[in-house]
Every structure is written in structure tokens, then in C-alpha cells.
Symmetry: C2
Subunit: 307 residues, 2 copies
């Protein structure tokens, strides 16, 4: 089966639903190469997209009309269900034969039923959660993890390759991408909390070590991790002052460690480290740090040095 | 002050106390470059050292006689105190003006008093805990973290440089090395447990992902860590079968996470991830895995696939 094309322009229309922090830069990136339509429930996001040269619509159903590929960039599993199957859901408005790419991290549970409902409408689902922030989305420099039927993947590939510098095909069915992303987030969440939450740099401080030199000494050795190098400097900033730049919100890890917790619980797997890390992010949100950078998790356990 | 030299040979004698899994290969390495004397309380270790061409003695006091540098390679803080200040302790037998190098990881608490007692005898203490196994010790490829007075460090440097490919000078007093090593072990212990103990690879398995492909996919991204790459393959081996090769004993992390726990408690720092990791290593020891490779910690939470 080939992807439906627009009869007027003879091109594939790519529709992006959800023009938020990730959806908008992805839509902008895709607009270099494709005819991109967009929708967001917030008018201000639609206006921003218009300004970026993306054609937006007053409803999601109008935005997907005629689209060959629909890319979903929502924040939660509830939003995902709403946008497809809710009161104003677009499932029935999708073009038969088109492909839906799910880029959000929502966990594995809902995916099989969703894939089946879409298949009944002759729509393929490509499960493609991603890593990397807005800047890397604009640059087509995301890491995208894919679980999809090989034929559906081939149809989605031009769009995925426009967005990603690394495509990891981990399995051949929707849900496999969410599964690997869940494992990935378990490690990321634990590594940030271990590196951040008083558990390494705050301990170094308490032991009278210089935190910057400690970070340098640890990075190169057996204690090293991507997150120690990436978040370490921001963690030290967050420990010094309350107003560090927000590159990745703490409450994203509240959501993702929640997904990890559901997955380990469903599998009957003990996971004390992931559970401890989840509690730290929850504590951070309760303490008003949900919209702060995730490196602020250090302040949950060790007060800001300047406060 | 210069390091005492042997009047017969006109060379510095280096004495290694503790000829165990690390002490013996360090002594062998040093014997390429120095006159090395040695002692261990176990006769079989002394015989192995003799066979490796190291002159051993019937008592620790005899072994340190005339030594300009004494390198301590013991397992615990109790052994350290015994060897220096116990009934058969060598402190009084050390040559005034000599240097003691402490390579064991024993925590920070005892170091200031020990340094002071040695200073009263005109002996300098170089705090130099290390990372790397027996093979890297033989090859002079250790990572050594140093806290020491700069003058004492300069006198110990030829010995340290014979053993280490990386010397990290983190502070100018004994105890600073133990402090950084404690922070380092916190991260290593958490990373192994996170990567191992069902919390990533076991979850991947439970979610139906191929563990080998998952490991490859995770390593390169934000979830990556030295320990994921280093222990990952051994963790998968440990998950498959009970008899994987022992490269680093699980009970070393029982000891080291205990040191971390004492340090965080003394500082009044909450550390839920380190505490959870410590409990996993303790559970492993209780389940009879103390002498197994530390990667066996995955079996604490997820039964061996072949058992």
C-alpha cells in the first residue's frame, strides 16, 4: 500500500497534532521537506505555528483531512486517547491507508488496543517515542526509537529520517518502542537522581570536596554516565541558585517514572531504585519544582546554597 | 625531607602490607622498578609472593624495617587499624621520615586521627584509594585518587605512577581521597544496581524486548553509563546462568555502600537511591551471592532464566 497523497499538489501531506514544546519544532523541521498541516487545542500555539509557516486549522479533524501521515505529539496517554477516539477525536476523519506516528512517551499498556482500533480503519500505527529537546527537534537531531510493522515503518521513514539523527528499530510491533523508551527512562531517571539528589554531588559538598573538580574526576571513570556529564553542571547551578535555565522540566520525570512504575508493577518486578527515584521527583513537584529544570531535584535533598 | 633509603643497596625499599587480590599484583608490578618487601597474615599469600620474586617476612614489623615507603592493601578499616596500631601493629617499627600509602577504600572517618598519630611518629600519610582490578594492577593501569600533603605526594609519586595510568589529585589532605572514592562508589553502586537489578535489563526482558539489542540501544544514548557498558554483558550472563566469571565480588559493594551510608548519615543527607542499592547488595549476600560477581545482583530481583 502506498501513502495517500494530496490530489492538488501531488505530495504527501504531513499533519502534526499537538504544537507544543516538541510538536512545533518538529512541524517546522518537517515543513522544510513536506507540506505540513497542524493543529493544537491552544490558539496561541496555532498562531505561533502560523508564524512559522505551517498551515493550521480550527479543528483536529480538519487538519488531518487528506493527510498521508499524521504525527502525534501530545503529553499524556489521556490526551492521546482523546485526540484519536474522544468526543472530537480524529480517528474517523483519518484517510484510509494513512500512517499515524506516535512520538509521545505514554507507556505500553494502551498501544495494542489502539493499534487494533486503527487497523480496523485501515490506518497503520508507528510507535516512535523520542529523546532530545526542542533544539534537537528543530535540527533534525532527535533519537527516535521505533516499534512498527516493517511496511508501515518504510512509509513513515522519510518523516522519521527528517527528524532523527539516530533511528533505533527495536521491534516489529507498536509497543516495542514504548517498551524500550520505558527502560531508557528508568535508567535516565535513576542516573539523574543519583547524580543530582544529594546522592553524589551533594555528598561531595558535604565531605568538603570541591563540586566542580569532583564532577571532572568522576566523569572519566567507572562512575561516569551520560547524565552525570549532561546534568552535572546544571545540577551544580541548581544547587547554587534557584533560577537555573529550564531545559527539561522536572515533571516530565514524574510522568515517565510513573510509566516505569506501572510497567515494573505489571511485570511483578521489584524495582527499589526506580521507586526511590520516582519519589524524589514527586517530592520535587510537591515542593513547587515541577516546572523547574530536572536538575533541581538536588534541592529536594540539599537546600540551595544561596537560600 | 627525603625518603629513607636502604644503606646496603642505596635504594628506596617499598614494603607492601597485604598481599591479597590487589596487594600481590601491585607488589609484582612495583618489583619491576623497586626493591619490594612484603607481608601477609596468610602464609599461602606469602608463598605466592615469594614465587613472584618478592622478599617476604615472618612479621609485618620485620617487613617494614628500613622501608622508605609502605603501601597498605588491606580490606577493611578494622584491618587497617590493626596493622598499624594493633597488638602486632607496625606503627612503632616504621622508619621515621617514611611515607605510608593507603590504597584501601575504608571511608573518611578514621583518617584524620590516623594521620595525626603517624605524624607524631614523623610518618606522612598519603590517602590513595584505587579503582581497577588485579589485571590492571599488574599492568600499572589503575585509577588512583589522591588526597595528600603536596610534599608527601611528591615522595610517593614514583610508586603511584608505577601503579596508575590515571592519578587524580583531588585534595591536599589525607581523607580527601577517601571522600572522592566514597562519592565514586555511590554512583557505581547505584549504576550497577540500576542497570542490573531487574531495573533495566530485567524490565526489558519482562516487556518482551531482546536484552542484547536493548543493551546496544541504551548504551549510546542518554541512559548510557560506564557501568551499563561494562557490567551489561556480564549482567546478561548472570541472568542466563549461575556460574559467570567473578571479576569483582558482590560483597565489595556491601562494604563500599556501607561506607557511603555512613558518610551520608554523618552528613545528615537523605540518599534514598544509595540506600536502596545497599539493600540490594545486602540481599544478594544473604542469598549466597557475596562471592559471586557483582553483576549477579540481577538475580536478587529476577530469577536466573535457567534455574
Amino acid at each position: 500500500m502506498s501513502t495517500p497523497i494530496d490530489s492538488e499538489t501531488n505530495q504527501v501531506i504531513v499533519t502534526v497534532l499537538g504544537l507544543g514544546a516538541m510538536g512545533l519544532p518538529m512541524a517546522s523541521r518537517l515543513a522544510r521537506q513536506f507540506t505540513v498541516h497542524g493543529f493544537d487545542i491552544h490558539e496561541n500555539r496555532r498562531l505561533l505555528a502560523d508564524a512559522a509557516g505551517i498551515e493550521t486549522f480550527a479543528s483536529a479533524a480538519a487538519a488531518v483531512s487528506g493527510a498521508g501521515i499524521v504525527l502525534l505529539s501530545v503529553r499524556t496517554g489521556e490526551q492521546l486517547n482523546d485526540v484519536l477516539f474522544g468526543v472530537n477525536g480524529v480517528a474517523e476523519a483519518l484517510t484510509p491507508g494513512s500512517v499515524v506516528i506516535l512520538t509521545s512517551t505514554v507507556g505500553t499498556e494502551a498501544i495494542p488496543a489502539m493499534a487494533e482500533r486503527l487497523a480496523d480503519l485501515n490506518i497503520a500505527l508507528v510507535d516512535a517515542p523520542l529523546s532530545g529537546g526542542p533544539l534537537r527537534a528543530s535540527d533534525g537531531d532527535l533519537l527516535i526509537i521505533v516499534g512498527a510493522d516493517p511496511l508501515a515503518l518504510e512509509r513513515a521513514r522519510p518523516v522519521l529520517e527528517c527528524l532523527a539523527s539516530t533511528l533505533t528499530i527495536i521491534g516489529d510491533k507498536p509497543g516495542d518502542g514504548q517498551a524500550l523508551k520505558t527502560v531508557n527512562q528508568l535508567l535516565c531517571g535513576v542516573h539523574i537522581a543519583a547524580a543530582a539528589a544529594a546522592e553524589a554531588l551533594a555528598l561531595a559538598d558535604a565531605l568538603g570536596l570541591d563540586q566542580v573538580r569532583t564532577l571532572e574526576a568522576l566523569e572519566a571513570g567507572a562512575a561516569g554516565s551520560f547524565m552525570l556529564s549532561n546534568r552535572g553542571p546544571r545540577i551544580l547551578q541548581a544547587h547554587e541558585a534557584a533560577g537555573a535555565q529550564v531545559l527539561s522540566r522536572l515533571d516530565i520525570f514524574v510522568k515517565d517514572m510513573g510509566i516505569v512504575g506501572r510497567a515494573t508493577r505489571a511485570a511483578g518486578l521489584p524495582s527499589p531504585l526506580a521507586a526511590a527515584a520516582e519519589q524524589l521527583y514527586l517530592l520535587g513537584r510537591v515542593q513547587g519544582l515541577g516546572a523547574a529544570d530536572d536538575s533541581a531535584v538536588i534541592r529536594v535533598l540539599s537546600p540551595s546554597k544561596r537560600s
